[in-house]
């Protein structure tokens, strides 16, 4: 494709994007007023199911099917990326280099060790309190996956390879997605519809309220956390081990 044709194509696309964008903004309801039809519907739904975090109730209760779709997309993307990143025929895998520990400055290592337990706790908190405060399985899962990789910052690649559940992490990720589907089917079996709440909703603001949202958050946390561990691990292996 010549640069000229490319430019014309880009300008056509940009013009279309600009036109539809301006039309969409002009047609949107005004910002900053008190009229929010969707808010009224979502907040009423959240209160009916005793979920304090309305965003969570949209993601894991009212539109849980959409979240299942996203979870599946993530699973497919991680699987595809890992398949692409596996060592090729003309590459060889080295043994972990032993000198990584010494090349880290003590301050970096100390920061890594101090941050590791704190980050793990924050990750768990974000997953388990997603129905009450901002956060949930997705955000918490990402934090947990990041926490595991602080080991690389703190210690050595070998320690990370040993401690990181690389053998069963690829299995744990689909388990998270399966758990999501399992909870959905449980709703169907109980007669409240796919992904409908089976357990009693509880009291609004209680740590154990809205059990469906908690359980789906845990399932998504497992799926996202281990998915990202597998993904980052594969990138890191390519950088450190594969020659």
């Amino acid at each position: 494709m010549s640069p000229r044709v490319r430019l014309v194509l880009f300008l056509l696309g940009a013009a279309g994007f600009l036109t539809t964008g301006v039309l969409a903004v002009l047609g949107a309801p005004p910002v900053g007023t008190d009229v929010h039809p969707y808010r009224d519907a979502a907040v009423a739904g959240a209160l009916a199911h005793a979920t304090a975090n309305v965003v969570s109730t949209v993601n894991y209760d009212q539109r849980a099917l959409d979240t299942l779709g996203e979870e599946t997309i993530l699973l497919a993307s991680v699987t595809a990326a890992v398949a692409l990143l596996r060592p090729a025929d003309d590459e060889r895998v080295d043994v972990p280099p032993p000198d990584v520990v010494r090349s880290r400055s003590p301050a970096t290592r100390l920061a890594g060790w101090l941050l590791l337990p704190a980050t793990l706790l924050v990750g768990l908190d974000v997953v388990l309190h997603g129905h009450l405060t901002p956060g949930g399985g997705f955000q918490g899962g990402v934090v947990l996956a990041t926490a595991v990789h602080l080991l690389y910052l703190a210690g050595s690649f070998a320690a990370l390879e040993r401690l990181r559940p690389r053998r069963w992490a690829p299995v744990a990720e689909p388990v998270g997605a399966l758990g999501f589907v399992g909870l959905g089917v449980a709703g169907s079996v109980a007669g409240v519809g796919f992904l409908g709440g089976v357990l009693p909703f509880g009291t609004l603001g209680d740590p154990l309220s809205s059990p469906t949202v908690i359980l789906l958050n845990v399932a998504v946390g497992i799926g996202v956390g281990f998915g990202l561990v597998v993904l980052v691990a594969q990138f890191l292996r390519q950088e450190v081990l594969v020659r």
Partner: protein, 80 residues
């Protein structure tokens, strides 16, 4: 939230996005991308969307720049 602050945040995101697009060296681009991700996360907080801000900070400011950096380093090393 005052509309002026929101506009400043949006403009900052726009400028930071432009800086990322205009950074030629991919390794430096990972750093500007991270700064852009942080700014976008703060903007989400200002717009009362802390849930999205959390995702944005973790993915946009940390994981994606890390993957870009690791990829650039691996590709550079193999070119030598």
């Amino acid at each position: 939230m005052s509309p002026v602050l929101l506009l400043v945040a949006l403009l900052g995101v726009a400028v930071a996005g432009g800086v990322v697009a205009l950074t030629r060296d991919p390794e430096k681009q990972a750093v500007t991308l991270s700064a852009f991700g942080l700014l976008l996360g703060v903007t989400f907080v200002l717009f009362d969307a802390p849930d999205v801000a959390l995702s944005q900070l973790a993915i946009g400011a940390a994981i994606v720049p890390l993957l870009v950096m690791l990829t650039v380093r691996t590709v550079r090393r193999r070119q030598r």
